[in-house]
Symmetry: C2
Subunit: 355 residues, 2 copies
């Protein structure tokens, strides 16, 4: 990264790539900012999902529409420009043809079909910058982590969210659970839903809670992006409530997490949020199919009531399913209940404990 | 606080007050450092428990023994000098008689019998400094918080320590629980024991775990200060293991937490550490007798096994016993298992939920 103007342009490219009106799913989110030799913005572009122009092409087209000359310009991109011809032509070719002099890249493309863009640009005499500030490189990685996970694993990324009292109860003895956590934790759940392609609950949770599974702000307004709302299991349950503006409702008529994930992946969904209950979570854990676990722990005691995870077939402490604690934080609700947030990742090789 | 030398002297006085060879119990821990006009240390003193000289008297005696003149000196003390004649004479009188010119006080004495020292000193023309740096004032408050709690509440301070998996299990289905937490969390438990006057377990835990209840370092060596080791309950259990250098073993033959605390308070014990199990903890929680709750949460899942807290007579979420989350931290064990530590305090008026 050569200067502050490029850093600022990259931060802007990351912001526009994360536009909440852009659908998630099987395509990466990408932003592009074109700078002239003086560091002024010539044009911006972003990728708006499958079948639409890539971010670089979008930015070049906007520059052309507004009569800006991009010869000798710098293109700042959140993801390495592609080299393959899919539904759109390769971006490297478009950048070369437009006379771009320098390309700053925040994240290499892990997709083997599309990779090699940096080398192709260099071969064409373009100056390529890969050395971006770590915080911006981190944001670029975070932006498409579900998409990258899909490329690596061939299945969606699975985030499990669990809320419990400090004695590990997901609900009281009579089944009531609204609300265990405070305002800040509930707002965080809505943020997680907005980041996910699909939210899954088990049939038990669908029956007991009839959850809306929408992403809303503190005033109850629907967010711009809404996840697919899925109920998984074989027990017949009433359909999820119809909500105008909510994501589509879907039934995953299986008890096999692998089959459910394959079906979702085939439909282009890359990030699953598991919201419970204990049986659903245990089924995914038993198969080693939980990639991230987020625990919201409330400063409350119940002394009785269901746990967050159903039986895993474990009898002794030495068989425990081990994870790694990645971080702890306080979810502060001024004037209200503050909860703890704990983030876990399974240890490599964990999962599939004895049945 | 007028200068850096006084701050340094106060930090030193706090260190010597916390001497681990000084018994805890019904007397406050106090340190005193005497400085000459140039800020050099003339003598140090500390209080070594009931029936021994107070810290100020100890420091004055040491100065006399070494032939140091304390006329015009500054006395830096961790607790307001007392005004009452107990087993020793009032410290204010001793300071006045010795010709001390200035007294720096880190913490006012909350004991109504002994308070008023600062005013008495001022009346005698001594310059009194009460404005000490917040971190040192905090250390002075922390040093005697169990003693102060005893003055206010007429019973010992009760800290409950709980270790659980992230799904709230205190042990596996077969009862095994060694070890749920990692090295850093276990070291923290030994630190908590060293800070406590008495550690209590219920008869169930005594039977299953036959715990040593000693405070040890990472190599298994006994700490300088050891808590009384108590088993509480009516079920007959074998005595705790005899361990050379451990605190005395004691049986609290009652199921009534209030009676147990009264008995311990009468014996001069001011800080109780509850180490389980679930029945003992529930009994104290039902009576509103837990002042601090420390949860060590391990990054493990068991899916089955006993919870950390037994039945509290709660059926609905609205009846939950509410606490306040005071802080979260990661207990890092390099190369080993890192756990989360969460600290809770009951909300005012909490406790005694419906039975």
């Amino acid at each position: 990264m050569q200067d502050l103007q490029e850093s600022a342009a990259l931060a802007r490219a990351l912001d526009i790539a994360a536009d909440p009106t852009v659908p998630l799913g099987p395509n990466p989110r990408v932003g592009c900012v074109l700078l002239d030799a003086g560091g002024r913005i010539l044009a911006e572009g972003l990728h708006r999902g499958a079948g639409t122009p890539h971010a670089e092409a979008d930015a070049l087209a906007r520059a052309a529409r507004t009569g800006r000359d991009v010869t000798g310009a710098t293109a700042v991109v959140t993801l390495e420009p592609c080299t393959h011809t899919g539904r759109t032509g390769p971006c490297t070719q478009a950048l070369i043809a437009a006379g771009i002099a320098r390309v700053v890249i925040a994240r290499r493309d892990p997709n083997p079909v599309a990779a090699g863009g940096a080398a192709r640009l260099r071969d064409a005499g373009i100056d390529v910058g890969l050395d971006v500030p770590p915080d911006l490189a981190g944001r670029a990685a975070e932006l498409n982590r579900a998409w990258e996970h899909g490329l690596r694993a061939g299945r969606p990324l699975v985030t499990a969210k669990v809320a419990a009292t400090l004695d590990g109860r997901a609900a009281a003895a009579d089944g009531s659970s609204r609300w265990i956590t405070g305002p800040a934790a509930r707002a965080e759940v809505h943020r997680l839903r907005e980041e996910a392609d699909v939210v899954i609950v088990g049939t038990g949770t669908a029956l007991v809670d009839s959850p809306s599974l929408t992403a809303r702000d503190q005033d109850g307004r629907l967010a711009a992006r809404q996840p697919v709302r899925a109920v998984m299991g074989l027990r017949p349950v009433p359909p999820l409530p119809e909500i105008r503006g909510a994501g589509p409702a879907r039934v995953l008529a299986t008890r096999d997490p692998r089959a459910a994930l394959a079906e979702l992946f085939d439909h282009g969904l890359r990030h699953v949020l598991l919201e419970g209950g204990p049986t659903l979570l245990a089924a995914f854990l038993r198969e080693g199919l939980v990639d991230e676990l987020i625990l919201h722990l409330a400063p409350k005691l119940l002394g009785a009531g269901p746990a967050t995870v159903a039986d895993l077939g474990i009898t002794g402490i030495d068989e425990a399913l081990e994870l790694e604690l990645e971080g702890v934080a306080m979810l502060r609700s001024p004037g209200g209940q503050s909860d703890a947030q704990l983030r876990f990742r399974p240890l490599p090789g964990a999962g599939s404990p004895p049945r």
